[in-house]
Symmetry: C2
Subunit: 579 residues, 2 copies
Amino acid sequence: MLASLDRDDPTSLEIGSMSKAQAFFEAHLATLERAVDAGRTRDFWSPYPEVPSGRIYGETANAEGRAAFEATLGQRYELALTGIAGRVCEEVSPYGLELGITYEVPDIEGLIARMQAGMKAWRVAGADARAGVCLEILHRLNQRSFEMAYAVMHTTGQGFPMAFQAGGPHAQDRGLEAVAMAWSAMKQVPERASWTKPQGKHPALAMEKSYTIVPQGISLVVACATFPTWNTYPGLFASLVTGNPVIVKPHPGSVLPVAISVQIAQQVLAEAGFDPCLVSMVPDSAAAPITKTLAQHPAVKLIDFTGSSEFGNWLERNCPQAQVFTEKAGVNTLIIDSVDNLKAVCRNLAFSLSLYSGQMCTTPQNILIPRDGIDTDQGYLSFDAIATALADAVSRFLSNPEVQVNVLGALQNPATVQRIEESRGLGRVVLDSQPVEHPEFAGARMQTPLMLSVDAADREAYAQERFGPIAFLIATDSTEQSFDIAREVIAEKGAITLGVYSTSEAVLERAAELALEVKVALSCNLSGGVFVNQSAAFSDFHATGGNPAANACLTDLAFVSRRFVVVQNRHDVPAPVQE
Amino acid sequence: MLASLDRDDPTSLEIGSMSKAQAFFEAHLATLERAVDAGRTRDFWSPYPEVPSGRIYGETANAEGRAAFEATLGQRYELALTGIAGRVCEEVSPYGLELGITYEVPDIEGLIARMQAGMKAWRVAGADARAGVCLEILHRLNQRSFEMAYAVMHTTGQGFPMAFQAGGPHAQDRGLEAVAMAWSAMKQVPERASWTKPQGKHPALAMEKSYTIVPQGISLVVACATFPTWNTYPGLFASLVTGNPVIVKPHPGSVLPVAISVQIAQQVLAEAGFDPCLVSMVPDSAAAPITKTLAQHPAVKLIDFTGSSEFGNWLERNCPQAQVFTEKAGVNTLIIDSVDNLKAVCRNLAFSLSLYSGQMCTTPQNILIPRDGIDTDQGYLSFDAIATALADAVSRFLSNPEVQVNVLGALQNPATVQRIEESRGLGRVVLDSQPVEHPEFAGARMQTPLMLSVDAADREAYAQERFGPIAFLIATDSTEQSFDIAREVIAEKGAITLGVYSTSEAVLERAAELALEVKVALSCNLSGGVFVNQSAAFSDFHATGGNPAANACLTDLAFVSRRFVVVQNRHDVPAPVQE
């Protein structure tokens, strides 16, 4: 019925758009089906190679990506929009580079009206066409992974290899995961049904019914400074594939990665005949933030947010017109009870504590160790010996300048530098934070991790998030008390990761119980090439949505199924002839 | 790991419970799988016969059901509970009978502590065992459908046939639908996975991972007076099968149907070795309501509510610790544009307007008709002629005393009687509401529908819910204006049903667009044995969750998937040997 209506409209782009979007869908269907399957089996899988190699991406890909990034510097960034309400230009690379890119701020009311107008064609296109467009966007994002890596590096401060992986392929994985989960959820609703209810000797009652997936409305995705793509794509793509136009509000310090993403989305939407403004960017400045205004706009029905607990809680409580998905602060925790491979454990944790200078929502902050020491493969070792072993491992790991540059990266926010300074007094310094010079960028904000030893009684010090490269080695009465502290702190403050090291099955079982109780993902005895702060799309659920660190999970059914409703339409039909 | 832990506990009932619950699961697995399939194809299906026939339920079933109901009158109703904080005894049948049943109010803190203690074994049992228990509860509810019918009749005022169907099999269908949808959602998460990530020439990274479905916490289901089972079972069973203990807070006027349901649930839980208090009833009185206290309890993480918009909106905004699912008031609407079978349409609408005296969340209230008349199979008829035809059809339909008793039922709440009186002045009376005598119950509150003719300009009269047997025939400038009014009223006040009558494909298409726009279920040209106020489990989505009448849908994926989180547990394993 709808299609025939639209065919009568000579201005409609929908016929053309359907075929283009349908072509995208067919081109990417195998990937989509594989992604759905991966989300069900949860084995490793990714269609987007994570290695920044010329053999995979093309020998000129790196140079072209860098050139594309550099071409944006000092320029106006071009995006489709309706009416210009202002301009922002605030980004400064944590490596010291002044980016000088100017972004236009769209007129909000004009943009929302345009998005609402464009939403119908996007809804009418259907789940397959929308999935096709989303997969094409992801495909092109993948092709521009080098450019994205430079953009992510120079906004977040991540080292280049991490900026490539986390900002590129891993973020694309998370986007694809959201598309697959949402597409699969939509496909669980049939487009139509014949309903025939027997009436004994009388003719059956019979109806034809149709079911339409209807988007909730405008979706607002509030991006964070440190992972402007990885934490943004799940909400963006889950909303978009279910039919909702998406406004991305970047962090003022990390606009470019969002702008590139939005630009690609707009190009694909336009090629497929849809309004490019269905995905739009609304930047703001630190001095004149706009998120609250957007979040309380009556047309905004979905909000995804990554950032502070304070603002996340405000969104959860003050936007009753919207479904609100938040990832906030937490206190990630490690419990060390006993180890049978101390060197490997220390190596593993040295990487975890150093990676991106602890500016990850998954980095462990609190390391609980019995004050009387623990059993190890090197014999019974005191708390101090373990603390020293960990500190030495971090020092040794970071003694290589290339590792410093690639793993630590730079501190995204000057406030983090300040926080390291202020935290020194919170405990005994086991490993002091040292400034690091970057061989290429003299202005880089780089520091090694600060490791502090504190007592279990020093709750004020460790029982809150201290974002950045700051770790507490906490001396407890026993593993028993370590469990109690982990339970209490996570129940109150939340956590995205919990790690445990123990050679005792009973302790591992208790850790499993604790994880279920406070609803946090658990990693046991990691001592190889997987780290507690890593979360792999299609396999790892990132955050549970069940403790104060986040009210949503990347990506479960609840994350996608709340973004659309089903509207049915039914009418009588003659009863089928009975045999 | 958990099972071995529990086996070490001699007080654990879990081994026995697992096997009993597992037996229930196996006994009902075919039904469960058929229910999952029905929810996907959405054809008619029900395992619970809706006909109150002795040939189906046993020749003595009616007499036994009646006797069981009568045996509760004037007695203390026995349920498992921990600590008695008070008693309530307020139910008066809308048919005039004083029920005199006393219910104990549990001590809230004691009950919640007990539920939290019982939750672990219920979670550990797993999705299959929980589904088995839920299906056994539903099976036993079905066996007690006659007893339930008398209980529903004498609390809600529904006529016996409707009390049997809506209070019994149809409610059981809705419960089973929720179990099936939730079980299917849980099954989309694997219990474990092997994760192997190739590392080129290096050994692969390999992990074993497990995923546990973890309930949100205590679930509060706030039942309504008019449909104490139909509107309660979806939330109750969706929460229970996903592992959450459930407190049902009945309406003070309709406690018995909830008490019977809770008693059966407790019996099955206890038989399977679980704490019966995992499903508990907390009754209150009109003078001392307890819902707000329960709803804001920090342990309460899920709230299902059916009732007024005022209270539903309060719950949505004032219980940030919980996921809140509401069904509230709305203004259901019919648009009459043209008909090709006036008699059949009038017969159909006469039933819709009379059924349970309009005390349904799906009953049409506003009937929009062009003031200049419409095309019919009897020629062009004026607004007044259509109004008269509808009124005559209602009168004719209700001229049969048996129809009066069975279809109208009694008015549940004296406030509804009052509302009819107060509404008479809102328009021109087309059909006046008349008192009806019940042949068996002299004290029955029964009245025929009130039909008022108003002008489109009389917004004050019709643009709000006037619950009960009150319908407005609204004279509009045109079908165009009918659409506008429907759009505006539904956008502002919400609706669960929208009906349209038209012989024009273009008008039906516009109605379909309107339904998508304001997110309401649409029924087109109903003129046979299906009525706009009927909603069939497994096929019809009841409410969309997308307009002000409800923020949730019975039963979509969002309704079930928000009731649990997934907690993962992963550890390294040696890389698989490469070939």
